[in-house]
């Protein structure tokens, strides 16, 4: 047996053929593809579209966008309660099912959120291969060194961090001209060693804030370790994170809750930890540089201040048992696949259910049908609870509006509006998280339970006002 093995070993001792030299400026994935054809092939397949019960992606037959490419189905048309909840914010204009990485720049450029509202360059942090652009802007603004230096060198980092707020503050139309590709090899890999690396300022800053907090993060061992060691230098994943951590952190560059708009540079709100109420507390305590209290928008119908959650996949995964067990994003979304004589990471990043749950089966020795069933049970429960929560939030909004129509004063409505803010933040957090609860099933249900509680308490606070026209107001609401 052993002879046999060593024979085979002699037979095929292929390492990487370096056909082309990759540099810190090689944003074009086709160039990388010359050295790594297998990964490049699967990377390109992120253009595929196929739906699952709650995920994957689906073209909207009636919506044809730029370059004659179909848009995906609209989430706000499918569930008008979402539109009601975001009334007054750009998401009520256009919000669609997300799809593969190949589309990220295309979709951002053509969304009505960008076309119909002024947006800033910060949006590009997660929708383009942008490190070179950041560095160029940084150098132009006086950062030391040249573009040839490694991104992770001191000069490289200085350039990156200097350019980041500059590009972020530019109007979107201008900023988007500095980039060409959606996320590409350079954004996750070092061009020399090919090792995973973190290239995004948002995450680098976010992890510093998280590490400085006292919230336990057992799934991020290197953070825990840094906390008990010499804390002179701030936490840096590129120096400290293990390979296994990086297999999630590269995704956490983008799949996270963030604030980014004209009022302040992009940041990740992790100063208290990663749980929904810890993030809420950061926002509650935050003021914009101009001194005004932090908020995402004021609700058009009810006048409530509101926070909008966006794709907190990393935060949600952090609360689940998979994270605790050391299972990374890449384990499920980029599983190894066999390509001839080699095993490679599937760069066709997508729903694991579209791949017959193969990613799951190394750890779970169940049939694909059984695994999909388990996912569906979790997702169906989440969806039912979310629907309940949405009903309550929408009722609260309508009833606040009716109370306003009936002449209620702002002080009388303060409680209702505060409850709306809390409830809406929670239901939105689960809604924006794209696994329909799978990444942390019980946590998602807990959050929705709280959302329901707050929304109904808001309604109660209105009913207790005993407004003279409350009966009529109720009818207004019911008629909606």
């Amino acid at each position: 047996l052993r002879d046999n093995m060593s024979d085979r070993k002699a037979e095929a001792h292929t390492t990487v053929f370096k056909l082309t030299d990759l540099t810190e400026q090689t944003t074009d994935p086709a160039e990388w593809g010359k050295n790594f054809p297998r990964q490049y092939d699967s990377y390109r397949r992120t253009v595929d579209m196929e739906r699952t019960r709650y995920g994957g992606s689906e073209a909207d037959p009636g919506a044809i966008g730029a370059e004659d490419v179909h848009k995906t189905v609209s989430n706000i048309e499918r569930d008008p309660r979402l539109k009601a909840m975001w009334n007054g914010y750009a998401f009520a204009i256009d919000f669609r099912e997300d799809r593969g990485h190949a589309y990220m720049l295309h979709d951002q450029r053509e969304t009505d959120r960008v076309l119909k509202k002024p947006q800033v360059g910060a949006c590009l942090h997660c929708h383009a291969s942008i490190t070179v652009a950041y560095r160029e802007a940084g150098i132009a603004a006086g950062a030391p060194g040249t573009l040839d230096e490694p991104l992770l060198s001191d000069n490289g980092q200085a350039q990156l961090m200097k350019g980041f707020p500059i590009i972020s503050a530019m109007p979107y139309e201008e900023a988007t001209k500095t980039v060409e590709h959606p996320v590409t090899c350079l954004d996750c890999h070092d061009p020399q060693s090919n090792q995973l690396r973190i290239t995004r300022p948002g995450l680098l800053n976010g992890l510093i804030a998280l590490a400085n907090s006292t919230e336990p993060v057992p799934h991020l061992e290197s953070v825990e370790k840094w906390r008990t060691g010499n804390r002179e230098q701030p936490y840096d994943p590129n120096r400290l994170a293990s390979r296994q951590e990086l297999r999630s952190l590269v995704c956490a560059q983008c799949h996270v809750e963030y604030y980014c708009a004209s009022k302040e540079t992009l940041f990740f709100p992790w100063h208290n930890g990663l749980k929904v109420e810890q993030i809420e507390a950061v926002y509650d305590g935050h003021t914009f540089p101009d001194g005004s209290p932090f908020l995402d928008f004021k609700h058009k119908q009810s006048g409530a201040p509101a926070y909008k959650a966006q794709h907190p996949e990393f935060e949600t995964w952090s609360q689940g048992v998979h994270a605790r067990a050391g299972v990374s994003c890449a384990d499920c979304h980029m599983p190894y696949i066999r390509e001839g004589a080699m095993k490679v990471s599937d760069h066709h990043v997508r729903s694991p259910l579209l791949n017959d749950a193969k990613a799951c089966q190394v750890c779970h020795r169940d049939s694909a049908e059984e695994l999909v069933q388990r996912v569906h049970i979790i997702q169906d429960r989440t969806a039912a609870l979310m629907s309940r929560a949405l009903d309550a939030v929408v009722a609260l909004i309508n009833e606040t509006e009716a109370a306003m129509a009936a002449g209620a004063a702002d002080e009388q409505l303060a409680a209702a509006r505060d409850f709306q803010k809390k409830a809406q933040w929670r239901v939105d957090f689960v809604n924006a998280e794209n696994s329909m609860g799978f990444h942390a099933p019980q946590e998602a249900a807990r959050i929705l339970g709280e959302a329901i509680d707050y929304a109904q308490q808001g309604r109660l606070s209105l009913a207790m006002l005993g407004l003279p026209a409350a009966g009529a107001a109720k009818q207004v609401a019911a008629a909606k």
């Binding site: 066999r338 004589a341 095993k343």
Partner: protein, 147 residues
């Protein structure tokens, strides 16, 4: 050769004289899974191995013993000590768990056989292959789902 003898002797002492012989100690050095199964305590793992994907292609030692002769014997003497101590005193923690050192041995053995297949994925993280943990995902490969 002298060193080798010394190790063998160490193993014999470690295993404890006549226990070693009575307990089919010599078979401990063979590659026959039966020699592990001699201890009923290994029955679960033996049964699991019978049902595993590797049943036809790898025996206990292929996975659990270092693949060089000398390290192999040294490791066996060490493990022999722990095993017979545990068996005799019945003081080991259950369920039985692989120790860190042996886990690393195991992981290296996976790589030895499957080097060609996994070369690329391992290389992606420089030379630090001990951190490339096959068993994290393939925990069932040795002993099937039951362990």
């Amino acid at each position: 050769m002298g060193l080798l003898l010394a190790i063998l002797l160490g193993a014999v002492v470690g295993l404890g004289g006549s226990t070693f012989i009575y307990g089919k100690g010599l078979s401990y050095f063979s590659n026959d899974p039966q020699s592990c199964k001699n201890c009923h305590i290994m029955n679960d793992q033996y049964d699991g191995w019978l049902k595993s994907s590797h049943h036809a292609v790898a025996t206990c030692n292929d996975c659990h013993a270092p693949h060089g002769l000398l390290p192999k014997l040294m490791s066996k003497a060490d493990n022999g000590f722990w095993h017979s101590k545990g068996f005799t005193l019945q003081d080991f923690p259950e369920p039985i768990r692989i120790r860190e050192h042996n886990r690393q041995v195991l992981n290296r053995n996976c790589l030895e056989c499957h080097h060609d297949l996994v070369e690329d994925v391992v290389a992606a993280h420089a030379s630090d292959e001990t951190r490339f943990d096959c068993i994290r995902c393939h925990v069932a490969s040795g002993h099937g789902p039951e362990r």
